[in-house]
Symmetry: C2
Subunit: 108 residues, 2 copies
DNA sequence: AATTATCATCGTATATTTGCGATGAATTTT
DNA sequence: AAAATTCATCGCAAATATACGATGATAATT
């Protein structure tokens, strides 16, 4: 876009938008489920159960990391990723607040 | 992307991804909050409280419509948009399921 | 009937996302 | 030490998203 106006909105909106964007691709949702299911994962283990190339999975992991939904370490050759419980709790809180703010039945 | 592989994931992942993508921009979150606050809105009323051009707001409304998060009618000159309560309830359900699937404390 | 107000859509420009192969770095295995 | 494994990053191509002004269509006002 010519100019990005995202910064002109409230902190709450921006924070939720960042989390939502991280969840805006089925691959990333599937990755998060896998991580939770196995408690933790090597990148290769995820690639095995995903219809995507290794480089693509690595990129999705990077985005999840940037959004704070997962945490991970790279010990030389091997990697290790897992859910970030703290930020997931934060996500849950923000979602609850959002759903409360948007609850209504009246319509046009 | 050269090829879109989204279709190769599960229905649940895809459905949540569609909702999440709709929420992946602060402007759309702000719009949803406005709609809930006022119960319903003309496009122009939203433009007034938003740092965006009318055409841009209209485009965001279209995306929210496509995702099913809002419903609306166009009576000639005037429009009327509001929250889609049914799909919001569905969103709430899917989110709860997702959060359950991703709950864990064990980490690497 | 002419003007004004409201809004969707089109066209355009730029930025971001998605996906992959190739490459290189670090570790492990042989 | 050589070969194999594991993974992030780079570079590329194509698709989407973001934002706006201009335009046209419809309805309400004058």
């Amino acid at each position: 876009m010519a100019i990005h106006k995202k910064a002109e909105f409230g902190m709450e909106e921006q924070e939720l938008a960042v989390f939502a964007k991280a969840l805006a691709h089925p691959a990333r949702i599937a990755i998060l489920k896998q991580l939770a299911k196995r408690d933790s994962c090597l990148c290769g283990e995820i690639v095995e159960v995903m219809p995507l190339a290794q480089s693509t999975v690595s990129q999705h992991l990077k985005e999840l990391l940037a959004a704070g939904l997962i945490q991970g370490t790279l010990d030389g050759a091997k990697s290790c990723y897992c859910i970030n419980p703290v930020n997931f709790q934060r996500l849950e809180m923000i979602l609850a607040s959002f759903l409360k703010d948007t609850s209504t039945n009246k319509c046009c």
